[in-house]
């Protein structure tokens, strides 16, 4: 029991959950999206500032959620800042695979350091009902990149 729980609630997750990074809005955001998990009522807004070359100059989030979703959002902002939107999308795709156990093991698109961070969050795969907590911020980021206002875990 404890092994699974410790795998999910690793120190780094607890740290991000308690002290989320980039937990603010971006005043000159070029895009933002609202994410909601209708099952639990968790909500967040992801703000995005893209430069002319479609690179993520700044990214942040505000909202309420469990330790997993807040940590995931916080780590996500750290991971995608400075990357192009295509890189961010590739990262999301890979992360989604890791969380849902459809991992194809293809790490060619990711830096080792990124992979390690995503791995920390993927302990959620042992808790199927919690996968959406971890992926909601990423769905929301994706929506913001695509110019959509809303994202839900039910999509």
């Amino acid at each position: 029991m404890l092994d699974d729980l410790r795998e999910l609630y690793q120190e780094v997750i607890l740290d991000h959950g308690k002290s989320p990074r980039n937990f603010r809005d971006v005043e000159d955001a070029t895009a933002h999206a609202h994410g909601a998990n209708p099952l639990c009522g968790d909500q967040l807004v992801v703000y995005l500032k893209l430069d002319d070359g479609k690179r993520i100059e700044d990214v942040s989030f505000v909202g309420k959620g469990c330790a997993i979703s807040v940590a995931s959002a916080s780590m996500m902002t750290e991971l995608v800042k400075g990357r192009t939107v295509d890189e961010a999308k590739a990262m999301f795709e890979r992360f989604h695979e890791m969380c849902t156990g459809e991992d194809n093991g293809d790490d060619s698109t990711l830096l080792e350091d990124d992979l390690e961070k995503l791995n920390v969050l993927s302990g959620v795969r042992a808790f199927p009902v919690r996968v959406k907590c971890a992926t909601l911020p990423w769905h929301t980021l994706n929506a913001a990149i695509d110019g959509k206002d809303e994202a839900t875990t039910e999509a």
């Binding site: 029991m1 404890l2 699974d4 729980l5 999910l8 609630y9 607890l14 308690k18 099952l39 639990c40 009522g41 968790d42 909500q43 309420k64 959620g65 469990c66 330790a67 997993i68 808790f127 919690r130 907590c133």
Partner: protein, 419 residues
């Protein structure tokens, strides 16, 4: 002398043999993560005693056919059992007639039925419906849909910080335009028991009809629809230790007769020509198509089961566990209980400082404790209480003080674990 006399058990006051009742529920012997299951999610759905499981199995093995149709033996047996279940429900809620009991899919469908028939036929633009802020979505959304369709006004009675129904505010919301009052009998989140008889009297004085959502009340207390004098009463079978897929709409005979049917089809007609149809008598008018035969019979078995124990004794036992659990939980630092009305059922919703309900539910689950976390289909109430979600422990007839101890221990572990 008097002390001794009081201690002597009477016929109606024999010890509540919770261990014996527990042994009636096979699932309670399951181990999860190598730990005994501590099931505290009864307000979402309760477990089933062997008697109910056997009753459903018996139908399919010995007396199954479609009801109200065949002249053959099996159809007669099935019809007898199905209609027998209706009479059991009638007695359980003390309805005046068995045909005032309509079997539905669940409580949600029962509310929708009233909105879609009574509401559509008898409410006019500008008419008002009153609900409360502590309603389950099932008693909010159908009225919002009806409001939007008919141009009605929907008002909500507030609650105090303790979760008490504000009767004085309710009185102020009543106007000559109030046509329907739809209120929960017992909150699925706060456990608050509302003053239903008083609400019904005030609603009737204002010329309005009244519906009570008894999904929780029918499980935790004795319900008497005639004493309450409500026009409609709804509840669901699966929370009452019966099968899922069956619920009940009680309606006063004259109202059900005046209402148009909900669904059209077989079983609900008297005659059908290609030009037109006439409706069957109650209750068939509202039971179009083949009904939930085995589930209704299973609900009858569940009612037999709780009635044999006694709803009053179940309520007393649950109150004991509720009081004990409340006291224990209160001793946990940073834990806040939502819903502390003097009159409340065995439901405890709470929050813990700096720990999200979903994290609580995940961690205590690994200790074998099943609780619900989330908005409990009552988002307006979450807004009222200023939280996005809560953790809820809800107790049933088989829960014990030891279950409350296990919950408290698991919560203390959660605090330690997330430190």
């Amino acid at each position: 002398m008097s002390d001794t006399a009081q201690a002597m058990p009477t016929a109606n006051d024999t010890a509540y043999d919770v261990l014996s009742y527990r042994s009636d529920f096979p699932i309670l012997s399951e181990q999860i993560y190598d730990k005994p299951l501590i099931f505290l999610d009864n307000a979402a759905s309760a477990q089933k005693p062997q008697q109910v499981i056997d009753a459903v199995r018996y139908v399919y093995e010995h007396e199954y056919a479609n009801v109200h149709r065949g002249v053959h033996y099996m159809s007669e047996k099935a019809t007898e059992a199905y209609e027998g279940a209706r009479v059991k429900v009638q007695r359980f809620i003390n309805a005046a007639h068995d045909h005032e009991v309509i079997f539905t899919r669940n409580a949600t469908e029962a509310v929708n039925m009233v909105a879609g028939t009574y509401g559509r036929r008898f409410l006019e633009p500008g008419d008002e419906i009153i609900i409360s802020v502590m309603e389950h979505h099932a008693n909010i959304v159908p009225w919002q849909m009806l409001r939007d369709e008919k141009g009605l006004v929907l008002k909500a009675v507030p609650v105090t910080d303790d979760g008490e129904f504000l009767l004085e505010d309710f009185k102020k919301l009543l106007t000559p335009r109030t046509k329907l009052v739809a209120i929960t009998h017992t909150s699925n989140v706060l456990g608050t028991i509302t003053p239903v008889a008083e609400i019904a009297r005030l609603a009737h004085d204002a010329g309005a009809k009244v519906l009570f959502d008894g999904s929780q009340a029918a499980v935790h207390s004795v319900v008497d629809v005639q004493a309450i004098d409500c026009d409609f009463y709804v509840f669901t079978g699966h929370k009452l230790y019966g099968p899922s897929g069956v619920g009940v709409l009680y309606g006063k005979e004259e109202l059900l007769n005046a209402m148009p049917p909900y669904l059209g089809g077989g079983e609900m007609i008297s005659t059908v020509t290609l030009a037109e149809s006439t409706w069957a008598e109650l209750p068939n008018k509202f039971e179009a198509g083949t009904p939930m035969i085995a589930q209704a019979i299973g609900l009858g078995a569940a009612i037999d089961y709780v009635s044999a124990i006694g709803m009053d004794r179940i309520a007393a036992h649950e109150q004991d566990v509720l009081g004990y659990a409340t006291q224990k939980l209160t001793s946990i630092p940073g834990l806040k209980i939502f819903g502390t009305a003097p009159s409340k059922a065995a439901v405890i919703s709470f929050s813990m400082e700096n720990i999200h309900p979903h994290d609580i539910a995940t961690i205590i689950d690994r200790a074998g404790v099943a609780c619900r976390a989330g908005h409990h289909c009552a988002q307006p109430l979450m807004d009222r209480m200023g939280v996005p979600a809560m953790t809820r422990a809800s107790f049933g007839l088989y829960n014990t003080r030891a279950d409350a101890d296990a919950l408290v221990e698991a919560l203390e572990f959660t605090q330690e674990f997330l430190g």
